[in-house]
Assembly symmetry: C2
Homo-oligomer: 368 residues x 2
């Protein structure tokens, strides 16, 4: 009696996961975290109107959601000044990245990203047999021109860049991204992950013609809009690429409740502005806390701050472990030299204070 | 300036979709349906406790859901008397079917199903380049032994059967399914879609050892539990297959709100029993309505009734169109000879009455 026969590719894949959730850590530890500042969630929460819309939709969830996501796509198109045919909605940027890689990357196809950038993108590339070429950051920034050169040199099908960047929190001016688009090698698609764009300084969002076939922009309701748990991402691109998602996506993959919540959240731009203010305040607080402990906060265009602990990865990992001991959930970059940092998300004052309280002892313990 | 280069497989796929949603029809018609009886949704709705849990979770959706779905999988394991390592949760059965096909089916691999069975499964098989072998129904039932013979003859990797069946509403005794499992060709996995099992007569659920590597069972909160819009499906299988999903699934694909709702729904088995009673009443009402119009209701083990309109597919399609004119949303089987039927979902009394009122005129108009 033999089991199911996996494809050779599926059989070859490791069972590793892109991220271990805080709930898993809590189960292992046997107690909950007191501050949840590790997943770049937005503790200031979604718009009250979005919550209300989701509460109403909960009672109506006997109905499938609209598989075309028509209302949400229409609102997004109006918001971005493009057509509904330029917008696809999916189960978070993670889901959309999976679909995009599936559409474009087959076994052996080259893909370019930065060494230390978003692991879930890499997970999908490996999952479809693509060959990942990693380019070093230039300091704390992803390096547009090295990425372009690598894409040209490998005849890559996709080039991934996040602006602002995760995990370093750095950003490029939108104009640099449009220069990148102009420099893209023929037949390579720029995957522009703008998950954190709603929290970035003015001018960070690149002005891109939605009909441009060289780029796809990824956006999400998880960060600025505070709805990570609702799983709503979207992409903006030329209609031919957008409609290609319909060949393969889970047409009934979106929660009806999440559709309603995202629609209401988008309509409440005042709440987004409120969140932007709160995030800026929390960023400043995190920077102060870092400095008062002799650490270096890196400039951030996101809802988190990468804090340089001033030594190597082993030391930062010890700091992280000590913070976890003190019930503070934070994460850190995976790759050297960025792993000298810990990455702390913005959150409500009480959680930031808990971090501030725990940090000195964590640093002291990590030194031993 | 050329666009992105799709894989040859992706480029070859049609842009067709498995199902057109009622919202799309409403937009085309320019007015809403009065009765939503076409998608086998459960108009009796989810448990009030599930609704309440989702309303609470809506306020907490700034947090990602647990990517391991630990609490829900634990509760499901307890419910089914298996281990958590036997359970994977995903974005509806549709999502899990997509992952399963991706894990097992590569270009040219054979897959067996019944001609007229679930189109979304076929969509996924085509989407990964599999070759679908379709076996005729035996009357209104999927034909276990023809399916097995086809799987053996084609060295198929997957054999799909739904019990109870959609779109005919028929079912096999659980014992016949266990006989099927015993007769499975080596290396072929039985995909047992039990979406409607919560509404079937006792004895329909096959008794299957969760460690059996020859079968994977698919279940959902969309039908009996009335939460189609929340997108929660799960599968029960041997641990090796379950853990393979972790190689490729969207680990953060589940809505936190839906996780909470499913957990509460599972705990409220009284509500499920209430729904079972309501569905049985509605099934009887639909059968009476069919007979009083000179049509033949097929026996149903589901929350819908296939009604034989007594002529060919063209006639049934006219009946369907006339019902839509009268603002009644129903669907029908795609394939002859089943397309002599229309398929009407169970729903609240008011919607069933609206159908009863519209049917005589629809039949009359379709005759012309």
């Amino acid at each position: 009696m033999i089991g199911p026969r996996l494809t050779p590719l599926a059989a070859s894949l490791p069972a590793s996961v892109p991220f271990v959730g805080p709930e898993t850590q809590e189960r292992t530890r046997g107690r909950p975290f007191a501050a949840r500042l590790g997943a770049n969630e937005n503790g200031f929460g979604p718009s009250p109107r979005a919550i209300e819309a989701m509460q109403v939709a909960a009672g109506e969830c006997w109905m499938y959601g609209d598989p075309e996501n028509f209302d949400l796509r229409s609102a997004l198109a109006a918001h971005h000044g493009c057509g509904i045919e330029n917008v696809v909605v999916g189960e978070g940027i993670d889901g959309l990245l999976g679909y995009l890689v599936r559409l474009t990357v087959g076994p052996g196809d080259a893909v370019v990203t930065s060494d230390g950038a978003y692991p879930t993108f890499n997970f999908h590339v490996a999952g479809f047999g693509g060959v990942l070429h990693k380019v070093p950051y230039a300091g704390e920034h992803e390096d547009p021109w090295s990425l372009i050169a690598a894409a040209a040199g490998t005849s890559a099908k996709l080039l991934y860049i996040a602006n602002p960047d995760n995990p370093m929190g750095s950003h490029h001016a939108g104009q640099r991204i449009t220069q990148m688009v102009e420099a893209m090698p023929e037949g390579c698609l720029l995957v522009l992950d703008e998950a954190y764009i709603d929290l970035a300084p003015p001018g960070t969002a690149a002005q891109i013609d939605p009909a441009d076939p060289r780029v796809i922009r990824m956006r999400t309701f998880s960060k600025g809009y505070g709805m990570a748990g609702a799983r709503v991402g979207y992409a903006i691109a030329a209609p031919a690429l957008i409609s290609a998602f319909n060949k393969i996506r889970n047409h009934f993959g979106m929660s009806r409740i999440s559709q309603a919540g995202a629609l209401a959240a988008l309509a409440d731009q005042d709440w987004l502005h409120h969140v932007q203010t709160e995030v800026a305040t929390a960023r400043n607080a995190l920077a102060r806390i870092a400095r008062s402990n002799g650490l270096i906060p890196l400039p951030s265009a996101t809802n988190f701050v990468a804090i340089d602990c001033g030594a190597d990865g082993a030391y930062a990992r010890r700091v992280l472990a000590q913070l976890a001991e003190a019930d503070i959930f934070v994460r850190m970059p995976f790759v050297a030299p960025h792993d000298r940092c810990i990455r702390v998300s913005c959150g409500p004052e009480s959680e930031i204070e808990a971090f501030a309280k725990a940090l000195p002892r964590a640093l002291e313990a990590a030194h031993r």
